[in-house]
């Protein structure tokens, strides 16, 4: 087992390196932060001084190399202008994003898994069509449009829920306050998660229901409930693990648009600001974090898969 994990880890490293190279290239092509320094009082000398200060006067590969050696020494660099350590910026915004995405994902899967199974068990009946249609609707509503609708009803009309931030300014932000702020953004994100996954889980369960061993179980005269609960659902665990694995990456990318709309103080906002101001060290920090997150979750999926499915050899 450990040998398997180690082997997988060794395979992940070159991919991670490749991703950071591509990230750095795309980012540098996107434009230099020096372009942002314009105005009558900005002199050539000032720009050159900045370039030297930020190390931008060197060729791209030298910049990348410097960044990489710093990262290997545990230093993610410092944000331009504010000079704040990138690790600190990420650290202070990681919590809200993990909270938001964790709650949304749990909520989405809590809808998707039972709905998908229900739909598969009642295949080609009216209930099945209803669930599938709902899932199409869920995945077809743009998140920002749904957010607008929610804000319209719950904030403007009903005065029930706050529409921005993570807690009411001035208050300490107790759990109840945070929960109230969390409802709308997490519902918007959960809708998207549920929409795509209902159909995925439905077809995965359908495939299992057609297996010979289930026919055998039914032929033995076992009750419908026992067949589904004991024989089908246990085997449906595999595709469900895959679904959860596929969702984790989005945790790290952060829901940029939703965070933006609800002024949620998470990584999505940090990313958005960093892209707009071309804050290289911050962009690279977020990219690195998300790449590590994605690769680790892929690895976890592989390992869980190997644990859940005895036919996979490692």
């Amino acid at each position: 087992m450990w040998k398997y994990v180690l082997k997988k880890l060794l395979l992940v490293l070159p991919v991670l390196l490749g991703i950071t190279v591509i990230d750095y290239l795309i980012m540098s092509l996107a434009g230099s932060p020096l372009d942002m320094m314009t105005g009558p009082r900005v002199t050539e000398g000032a720009i050159a001084a900045r370039a030297a200060q930020w190390g931008l006067n060197q060729p791209i590969w030298v910049q990348y190399w410097n960044w990489l050696t710093e990262v290997l020494h545990g230093n993610l660099g410092f944000a331009y202008k504010s000079g704040q350590p990138v690790s600190e910026i990420i650290g202070s915004h990681l919590g809200p994003t993990l909270l938001l995405m964790g709650v949304s994902m749990a909520l989405g899967l809590l809808i998707a898994i039972p709905a998908g199974i229900y739909s598969a068990v009642h295949r080609y009946q009216k209930r099945d069509y209803a669930v599938v249609s709902a899932s199409f609707l869920f995945s077809s509503v743009p998140g920002f449009f749904l957010s607008l609708i929610f804000v319209y009803f719950f904030t403007v009309k009903l005065h029930l829920l706050p529409s921005s931030g993570m807690y009411t300014p001035g208050t300490g932000g107790d759990a109840w306050d945070v929960a109230r702020h969390l409802i709308m953004p997490s519902l918007v994100l959960a809708t998207g998660v549920a929409g795509g996954n209902i159909r995925y889980i439905r077809s995965a369960v359908l495939e299992i229901l057609e297996m010979d061993y289930l026919r055998t179980a039914k032929a033995k005269g076992l009750g419908r409930r026992i067949v589904i609960r004991k024989h089908a659902l246990r085997n449906a665990l595999l595709p469900i693990i895959t679904v959860i694995g596929m969702q984790i990456p989005t945790l790290f990318g952060g829901a940029v648009i939703v965070e933006q709309l609800f002024s949620w103080p998470g990584l999505g906002q940090v990313t958005w600001d960093a892209v707009l101001t071309r804050n290289y060290p911050v962009i690279m920090g977020v990219c690195l974090l998300s790449a590590v997150g994605v690769l680790l979750s892929n690895l976890m999926t592989d390992i869980l898969y190997a644990l859940a499915d005895p036919t996979i050899k490692y």
Binding site: G31, Y129, S140, V141, F144, F145, V156
Partner: protein, 287 residues
């Protein structure tokens, strides 16, 4: 006689499609929306970018969806916006499907080191956080319609590539391809006359979902101001106005119709794609 032959080939396919009543309705709605977008200049007398009425006017007989804050007719803005959104979706889907099919074919057919390299690259693109890639790419180019087309086109291909590769791998094991190989048919013939036609159906189905996704992504990017730029209307940038609270609360005609059109378009494309999947699936052939 000939007519009977045709119904023999496409009849069952059509029958299986028609079984999905929702999809048939959606096909009609979609056709109607596309026609409205195409015939926009003949349907609406107003230019989408020129003020033609009072500011922020609620719907009236003259302006059936009202006017925006500088007096442009909302109905014609939505029609022209639909044009832009559909065009962006279509072109982005075309580009990503072409790239995906090409890479998938090469990867699956030649195998070995080429396959490893292409699939490694595909995995890398796939493990990028999608929105981050799009955002950074949107910052590279000057935002606008053509850059959105290129960005979405160059980001959405990995799914198609994997799908095609998988298909090629399984087709290579079929008897008719083995037969071709054994009888020394040229690779060009096997690839384009035997393998490619047999992967078209799943690619077509996949392309419908990419089309739907591209429309959603264009809307989101334009909404954020990184997509299609004003004054050209797109369904996404029409909704930008709703970020202001007074529009959101007091002028629903400025944002509800445009959002509804997006939902309608995407839902319908998804339903049609789903019915197509069922109709084209050879496992349902007896039905």
């Amino acid at each position: 006689m000939r007519k009977k032959d045709l119904s023999g080939k496409y009849g069952p396919l059509l029958r299986r499609f028609v079984r999905h009543k929702a999809a048939v309705v959606c096909l009609f709605v979609l056709t109607a929306l596309i026609l409205m977008a195409l015939l926009a200049p003949w349907i609406t007398p107003y230019e989408p970018t020129k003020p033609t009425g009072a500011f922020s006017q609620p719907p009236t007989a003259e302006h059936i969806l009202g006017t925006d804050k500088i007096g442009r007719d909302m109905f014609s803005r939505i029609l022209y916006g639909m044009r832009v959104s559909l065009l962006v979706g279509l072109l982005a889907t075309l580009i990503s499907t072409l790239i995906g099919v090409a890479l998938g074919l090469v990867s699956g057919y030649f195998g070995g080191a080429i396959d490893k390299a292409i699939m490694g690259f595909t995995d890398m693109v796939m493990s990028f956080p999608y929105i981050l890639l799009v955002l950074v790419a949107a910052a590279i180019f000057q935002p606008g319609m053509w850059s959105i087309v290129l960005i979405l086109g160059f980001v959405d291909w990995p799914g198609v590539a994997r799908l095609v590769r998988g298909n090629v791998l399984s087709l290579r094991e079929t008897n008719f391809v083995k037969n071709d190989l054994a009888s020394g048919m040229p690779g060009r013939y096997i690839l384009f006359s035997e393998i490619l036609p047999n992967t078209i159906a799943p690619v077509l189905v996949y392309a419908t979902s990419v089309f739907a996704l591209s429309i959603l992504d264009e809307a989101a990017l334009s909404f954020l101001g990184m997509g299609v730029q004003k004054p050209t209307p797109s369904l996404g940038n029409i909704l930008q106005g709703a970020e202001s609270l007074s529009v959101l609360t007091d002028k629903p005609w400025l944002w509800v119709p445009a959002g509804t059109v997006i939902v309608l378009l995407v839902v319908c494309i998804n339903f049609v794609g789903d019915a197509l999947r069922d109709a084209l699936d050879p496992r349902n052939a007896e039905g």
